[in-house]
Every structure is written in structure tokens, then in C-alpha cells.
């Protein structure tokens, strides 16, 4: 009787253990499924990264997502890459929509003055430093001057496109009496036939328009910028730029793609994506050193060209219209002196004139430059301090004022610039 009872207890214990095991497994499974969403990495803090769009409608978000996909897609020979190219995708020069790295630096050649490029028949205006296997490398033609250009930051460019000409002209007008000799002016250039004038465009009497993109501010709008980037940087043809880059040394006819290598649909999505990228966000804006640096920035005259506050005008994308932004640029070209003169230019800018580089996102440069910084148009400056000291020409006075600052003020200014 007792033995039977022990046996029953043993069986009951065994069954209870089995039940407990099963219940434990079920509870663990439910807990896992219900909590897994809380245990993946957080979204990137917008202040620390450049990923993200402005406020968009659902339909716009779909288009933005498509553009994002195409922007970071890698091109191959089978999908139109080359035959001469610099990079295989937009994202290679603009990792996370940031500025470029020296390994994808561009070389442009063939225009020594404002009378246009003299070497278009020999592959101008851009040298594609890479080519598909088996082809001859491109070379800068004898006699052509050239410059090397590091890719600028992509984030926020849609807002720059929405800045009205009237505001750019106002910045230029204010320069006329600048006591330090700042004389920035717009780069007027002939716009391509496919370009629709921007809202509020104010053309010059000779039919040229104020251009604003590129290191020389020679590109009119983001559609032209994207068409050129596809074509010059990746060797991808579009309806806007239908001819492939070629190498005169190969002595073959330029390769003309029978159909555009980027579809109209994809191209428009990429342009929309670029337009709708959010602006960089300043970090530590209320930090005492940063605010001190901001004051130094004003005191030594950086603000004259690197305009902190700019207001956009009308845009067909509501989120871009009539917004106050902090790009730290006036979108004008300025004479930066002999040391910055590569004897190459675009549009009507002189060879020593460069567009004021937007400083937003400057502090995020090390993220995409291997923990270092490569500043100025060709990456020649390896620190913010070096970059400031390399400013010549119209910025020479500000540079000398910087050199005269106390180390504390210099460091405060650098901290401020790193916060951008």
C-alpha cells in the first residue's frame, strides 16, 4: 500500500515536472516574442547622424524610400557602370549622406577661365580615375589645368535649392561695402535646356541664372547635380545626360547607351530623396564653450560668408518651403587667394573663387573620413584649425584674426565648429 503510494507520488511528481517544463517553455516563448521589439538597437540620434527625411506625406515617404534604395545601390558593368567612373554608387562618395572621403575624390579639368571648357572633346570636364578591366586609364590631356574636389555633404541640400535668388542677391549686395574686402558674388551660368528655372529665379540680362551647387557653384539645381553625378562619377547615362564618359586615348567612339542606364523613374526618385534629406542638427548648442565659440565666430567675421541663418522660399515640397535653416553659407563664390587657385574653374567664377562651403555637419566629418578630417575643396586641411588658417583672399582678414586669438578662444571656435 505504502509502495503504491510512493509510486503514485513519483508518477505525479514526474507529471508535474513535465507540466512545469512545458509551461516554462511556453512562457519563455511568449516573453521572447512579446519583448523582442524592445531589444533591438535604438534609432540613430539625429544629432549624431544624417539619416532621415523631412516631414513627408505617406506618398512622399514611399518615393523617398525608393530614392534611398537607388541612391545607395551599387552599379556594375551590367547595370551601366562606366566604362570610366570614379565610384560605383552615390553612397560611396556620400556615406550616410555625409561628405566624401579622399578615396573617391574627383578631378575636373579643362577650363582655365570663364570662357568655357576647352577639353570637352578629350573627356572634360571630369577625369574618371577608374575604368572597367581591360580599358586604358584616362589621363588629363596635356595643357589642361585641373582641380581635385572632395564630395560635399548631401544632407540639407534640398533646403539650399529652396533658397530664393533674392536672398542670395541680398547677401551679395551686403558684401559691396564690407570693410574686410569680402566681395562674394553669385556664379551666373548657362543652365541646361532640361532645367526648369527655380521658383523666384532672377536671371541676368544675358540669360544666365544664379547657380549654387558644386564647389564652384556652377550647377543650377539638384536634378542637374544628380544627372552630372550619375554621368561623370559613375558613367551612368540618363535622359538628361545621354552620353557615357569616354577616353580619347582609347581611340574608340564614345559609347552611347541605347537606353538610359538610369530610368526616368529611378532618377526622379533619387532627386526627390536628395531634396528631402533633413538638415544636420547641431550638438551641444548650449554648452558654454560652444556658445563662446559661436561669439568668436561672429567676432572675427566668419559670419560674413558662412551665414548662420538663411530662409527658404517657395518649394513644391511643403516641408522645405519658408523654413529657417542654419547652413553657414551664403551660396556665393569668393576669391580665396592664390594658395587656393588651381587655375581651373566652372561657369563664370574665377579660378581662385570658391563657393562658401556650408559648415553644417562639419563635426560629423570624422565619421566618414576614418576618424580624421580632410577639409577645404581638395581635403588638403587635416584639421579645422588648418582649414581656417588656409583661408586667404577675401577671408584673409578673418584668418589673421583667428591667428591673433588666444588659445582659449581658438579652441572655443573649434568646439563650436565641431558642434555643427
Amino acid at each position: 500500500m505504502v509502495a503504491a503510494t510512493f509510486a503514485e507520488i513519483s508518477i505525479n511528481n514526474s507529471m508535474n515536472r513535465k507540466r512545469l517544463s512545458v509551461i516554462g517553455i511556453i512562457i519563455a516563448a511568449i516573453a521572447t516574442f512579446s519583448n523582442c521589439t524592445k531589444m533591438i538597437p535604438d534609432m540613430i540620434n539625429p544629432a549624431n547622424g544624417l539619416c532621415g527625411a523631412v516631414n513627408l506625406s505617406r506618398a512622399q515617404s514611399v518615393l523617398f524610400a525608393k530614392g534611398n534604395d537607388r541612391f545607395f545601390a551599387i552599379r556594375t558593368a551590367a547595370t551601366g557602370l562606366g566604362p570610366y567612373f570614379v565610384s560605383t554608387g552615390c553612397g560611396e562618395c556620400h556615406s550616410s549622406d555625409n561628405r566624401g572621403h579622399l578615396f573617391t575624390i574627383l578631378t575636373r579639368f579643362g577650363q582655365p577661365d570663364t570662357n568655357g571648357n576647352r577639353f570637352m572633346a578629350m573627356g572634360g570636364p571630369q577625369l574618371q580615375n577608374a575604368n572597367l578591366p581591360g580599358l586604358m586609364p584616362q589621363r588629363i590631356p596635356p595643357g589642361a589645368t585641373s582641380t581635385r574636389l572632395i564630395a560635399p555633404i548631401t544632407a540639407g541640400v534640398g533646403f539650399l535649392e529652396a533658397v530664393p535668388d533674392s536672398e542670395i542677391l541680398a547677401f551679395a549686395a551686403a558684401n559691396a561695402t564690407d570693410p574686410n574686402g569680402v566681395r562674394g558674388h553669385p556664379n551666373y551660368n548657362t543652365i541646361p535646356a532640361y532645367a526648369t528655372p527655380l521658383a523666384g529665379a532672377i536671371p541676368r540680362s544675358d540669360g544666365k541664372y544664379i547657380c549654387r551647387f558644386g564647389r564652384k557653384a556652377s550647377t543650377y539645381n539638384l536634378a542637374q547635380q544628380c544627372a552630372n553625378a550619375y554621368n561623370h562619377d559613375m558613367g551612368i547615362t540618363s535622359t538628361l545626360a545621354p552620353n557615357n564618359p569616354y577616353n580619347y586615348l582609347d581611340q574608340t567612339a564614345p559609347a552611347i547607351a541605347p537606353t538610359p542606364e538610369v530610368s526616368e523613374d529611378d532618377f526622379n526618385a533619387v532627386v526627390f530623396y536628395v531634396q528631402c534629406l533633413q538638415t544636420p542638427v547641431q550638438r551641444n548648442a548650449v554648452n558654454a564653450t560652444v556658445t563662446q565659440g559661436n561669439q568668436v565666430f561672429l567676432n572675427i567675421g566668419c559670419e560674413t560668408c558662412h551665414k548662420q541663418t538663411v530662409t527658404t522660399g517657395y518649394s513644391s515640397i511643403a516641408a522645405l518651403a519658408y523654413q529657417t535653416i542654419n547652413p553657414f553659407t551664403d551660396l556665393l563664390v569668393h576669391d580665396m587667394g592664390a594658395a587656393d587657385d588651381d587655375h581651373y574653374t566652372e561657369g563664370t567664377a574665377l579660378t581662385s573663387e570658391w563657393r562658401t562651403t556650408p559648415l553644417w555637419g562639419l563635426g560629423l566629418a570624422p565619421q566618414v573620413q576614418g576618424g580624421k578630417v580632410y577639409l577645404m575643396h581638395d581635403g588638403r586641411a587635416h584639421s579645422i584649425k588648418e582649414a581656417i588658417q588656409m583661408h586667404g583672399g577675401e577671408a584673409a582678414v578673418s584668418a589673421s584674426k583667428f591667428n591673433a586669438l588666444t588659445p582659449v578662444d581658438q579652441n572655443a571656435l573649434i568646439s563650436f565648429l565641431q558642434s555643427l
Binding site: V22, D42, T76, G134
Partner: protein, 424 residues
């Protein structure tokens, strides 16, 4: 009779019919994997559970892998994903006592992150179909569609053998995953006491230009898998040489050294040279052992890929890659569990690292990054040795070539997966 009446009848018939009309079970003799006999990784293709059909000289077997996963990178996730990754069917035939044939037909849908195959979905393919002719234990001829002996994982990749739902990144994405090709070769084994030695050497078709021209934007040997003509035409016209030597001591473990070399590019057209010949080489070392007393299983494999890159080509495509993994599996329970006689519960962890672009930028002299590391703890339950239910957590960190780790597809990846895999 309406469909509503036919359907339940069919279901009932199928249930009861199965119970009552099942084939005589003695006709289906299961031949389990021979775990008692010492084997090398090179034996993996035949060291699987097979079902033999009576006295027919044919055995069949296979495995499947299915899983759920929830993974996110930088706060972005595709949510709950239910994936049927593989269904593989093998058929083995003993043509004579010293001539045997094995074929493996596989359905695979295991996205590797390559945008080019992201939308293609699952694919059926013949992964292996080769005949082995034994002349001597040290001299066997193998011919047909073979799996090149590039590392241990390439040879021994069946899902049910592993405690992780994901395959090692370096062994499947840096090396060409389950790389098989048409060719011929020799292999053999020799036993002496506790020692076992094996070798393999094959000449096969090879890679192609896509390894340095692909939608991943990096040197990517698996891109050659997408070449539909690789089973009938070699891109370079030169054979790919691959070989492996293995040394096993029953008390220490097994060490394998693999080497493969291939002229991968199409360098001539219609007899005219249009390009230089360029070589891809792979050097791989693997080791596995089981610690005595603790029964801890350790499996590790590391490889280096060296690819000649054309001059004036983007440095996105690296000329050197390095990566590998280590798995540590610790059984914590063996025995009777929920009615299973030989159940096993394991704790495991996998560490892995891949550097897709070893070296420095020519423009700056600074390091090219483009690397990732991952740690993946796991718990697995095996009701039988042939079936595994596994739960994994992945913690992975990835940088692009510039060192950028802040981006939608960069930085920290974390997530869970629950997978079921079994031989049948």
C-alpha cells in the same frame, strides 16, 4: 458530392490510411550517420542519415531549415520574418561495392544581403551530383558536380548539424557559399592508430568577373554563384585548382588546410587577349575538437582571400579579405526529457569577424575598414541528434569602408532567431 463533404473524407482517409496502410517499416531501414567510426570533414557528404529502400541499392535522405527572426539595425527592422531557408534532398546509390553516386538537390532561400538576389526568392539547384570510384583507399576518383573543398564549412554545412540558424558570415559570404562546380579530382584517406590523414584535390570550373563587379560593391566571391553558365563554361578557360589536406587525431581533433586558386576573369575574346589574367586565391584553415570530460565542442575556421584587382579600379573592391568564426557548444543536459530518450540541451556561442577590405587607402595611407564582428549566444534543444530547435541572439557591429558606423545599414545590429532544422 460537394467539396465540403469530399474534403473531410479525404482528410479522414489520409489520417487513418496512413496509420493502417503504412509500408512495412522493415523495408525502410534508417542508416544513421556513422558517429562511432572516425571520420573527417571531407566525409560529410556521405556521413548523413539515409533511409534505405529495402534491398534497393538506393538510399535517400535530406534536411530542412525553417526559422523566425526579428532583427534590427540602427532602429530599423523589417519586423517578424518567417523564413523557409532550405530543403535539401539527397539520393545515394551504390553502383558496386567500390563505385557510389550521390546527388543533392536543394531549394534555398537564404538572403545574404545582396540586393541582386533579394528579390529573386528561392531557387532550386543541383548542389552536388558526383560519382566516386575507389581504386584504393588512398586513391579515389570523384567526378561530376562536386563541392570544392574550400574550408570545412563548405563541405559540412547541413543545417541540422549546427546550433545556429545563420551560417557563418565569412564562410558563406567571403568564401563562396557551398561552392560547387563541375570537375574531377582525387581523394583518399589513411588510418594509423589514433591518426587519420586525408587529402582532396580537384580541377573544376571557376569564378568569373562578377567577384569584383557586383551589387555588393566589394570583392564578393559568392557573386560567381549567380553565373548560370558556370557548370558548362569556365570564364577564363583555365581550371580552378582546389585542394585540402586533413589530419585528425582521435584525442586531439581535426586540422584542415585548404587552398584554391583560379584565374577568374575573361581575359580573351575569340582568341584575342583583351585583358591581363588575374587570379583569386583562397587559403583556409579549420579545426574542430571535442574536449574530453566536458564534451565541449569547438569548431573554428579562418580564411584569407587574395584577389588580383585590375589597375585603375576602385578600391571598394579589395585585394585581400580575412575572416572566420569560432563555435563553442556546451551540452548542459543529456538524457530523458519530455519523453525523448536521448534529448540534449546545449548552450553555445559563436564569435565571428570579417574584414572585407584588408589594407590601406592609396589616397590617404589610412585604414580601409569595411568590417564586421558578431557575437551570437545560443541555446539549442535536440530531441534526437538529427533534429535541432535553436534560439539565437545576434549582436553585430559593422562599419563601411570609410569607418562610418552611423547609418541605416551600419553600426549595431541585434536580433533574435528561432529555427528548426532536421534531417529526414
Amino acid at each position: 458530392m460537394s467539396m465540403y463533404k469530399v474534403l473531410p473524407c479525404c482528410l479522414a482517409l489520409s489520417v487513418f490510411g496512413t496509420a493502417q496502410a503504412q509500408l512495412d517499416s522493415s523495408l525502410l531501414r534508417r542508416r544513421s550517420a556513422d558517429t562511432a567510426k572516425s571520420t573527417l570533414t571531407m566525409d560529410a557528404a556521405y556521413n548523413r542519415p539515409f533511409l534505405k529502400l529495402g534491398k534497393m541499392p538506393v538510399s535517400i535522405g535530406g534536411y530542412m531549415e525553417s526559422n523566425w527572426q526579428y532583427v534590427g539595425t540602427s532602429g530599423i527592422t523589417a519586423g517578424n520574418q518567417f523564413q523557409f531557408r532550405r530543403f535539401s534532398l539527397f539520393v545515394a546509390s551504390s553502383i558496386s561495392s567500390r563505385v557510389k553516386f550521390l546527388a543533392e538537390i536543394e531549394y534555398e532561400n537564404d538572403p545574404t544581403g545582396d540586393p541582386a538576389d533579394a528579390h529573386e526568392g528561392g531557387q532550386f539547384e543541383i548542389e552536388y551530383a558526383a560519382v566516386d570510384v575507389e581504386l584504393h583507399p588512398l586513391l579515389n576518383i570523384r567526378g561530376g558536380m562536386i563541392v570544392n573543398p574550400i574550408g570545412a564549412f563548405n563541405q559540412n554545412h547541413d543545417g541540422p548539424k549546427w546550433e545556429f540558424t545563420d551560417r557563418p558570415i565569412a564562410m558563406t559570404q567571403m568564401l563562396p557559399e557551398t561552392w560547387s562546380n563541375t570537375g574531377f579530382g582525387l581523394y583518399g584517406k589513411q588510418f594509423t592508430g589514433d591518426w587519420m590523414f586525408g587529402y582532396e584535390f580537384y580541377v573544376t570550373g571557376g569564378l568569373n568577373d562578377s567577384i569584383i563587379d557586383n551589387s555588393m560593391g566589394k570583392t564578393w566571391l559568392p557573386a560567381a554563384n549567380a553565373n548560370p553558365s558556370r557548370f558548362s563554361a569556365s570564364a577564363s578557360g583555365a581550371p580552378m585548382y582546389s585542394g585540402k589536406i586533413s589530419l585528425r587525431n582521435s584525442k586531439i581533433g581535426e586540422l584542415g588546410l585548404s587552398y584554391a586558386s583560379d584565374i577568374y576573369n575573361t581575359w580573351q575574346v575569340e582568341g584575342t587577349q583583351i585583358d591581363d589574367k588575374r587570379t583569386a586565391r583562397i587559403l583556409d584553415v579549420d579545426f574542430n575538437t571535442v574536449l574530453p570530460k566536458l564534451h565541449t565542442s569547438i569548431v573554428t575556421e579562418w580564411a584569407e582571400v587574395l584577389v588580383q584587382i585590375p589597375p585603375n579600379y576602385t578600391q571598394q573592391y579589395g585585394n585581400k579579405q580575412f575572416g572566420g568564426f569560432i563555435d563553442i557548444v556546451q551540452p548542459i543536459f543529456k538524457g530523458h526529457f519530455l519523453g525523448w530518450e536521448h534529448a540534449t540541451l546545449n548552450l553555445a556561442v559563436r564569435g565571428e569577424y570579417v574584414d572585407w577590405n584588408v589594407g590601406n587607402f592609396t589616397s590617404t595611407g589610412t585604414r580601409m575598414y569595411n568590417d564586421l564582428w558578431s557575437v551570437m549566444p545560443a541555446i539549442s534543444f535536440r530531441p534526437t541528434p538529427q533534429t535541432v530547435l535553436r534560439f539565437n541572439y545576434r549582436h553585430q557591429f559593422q562599419r563601411d569602408i570609410t569607418g562610418n558606423a552611423v547609418g541605416a545599414a551600419l553600426g549595431l545590429t541585434e536580433g533574435y532567431s528561432l529555427g528548426l532544422s532536421t534531417y529526414f
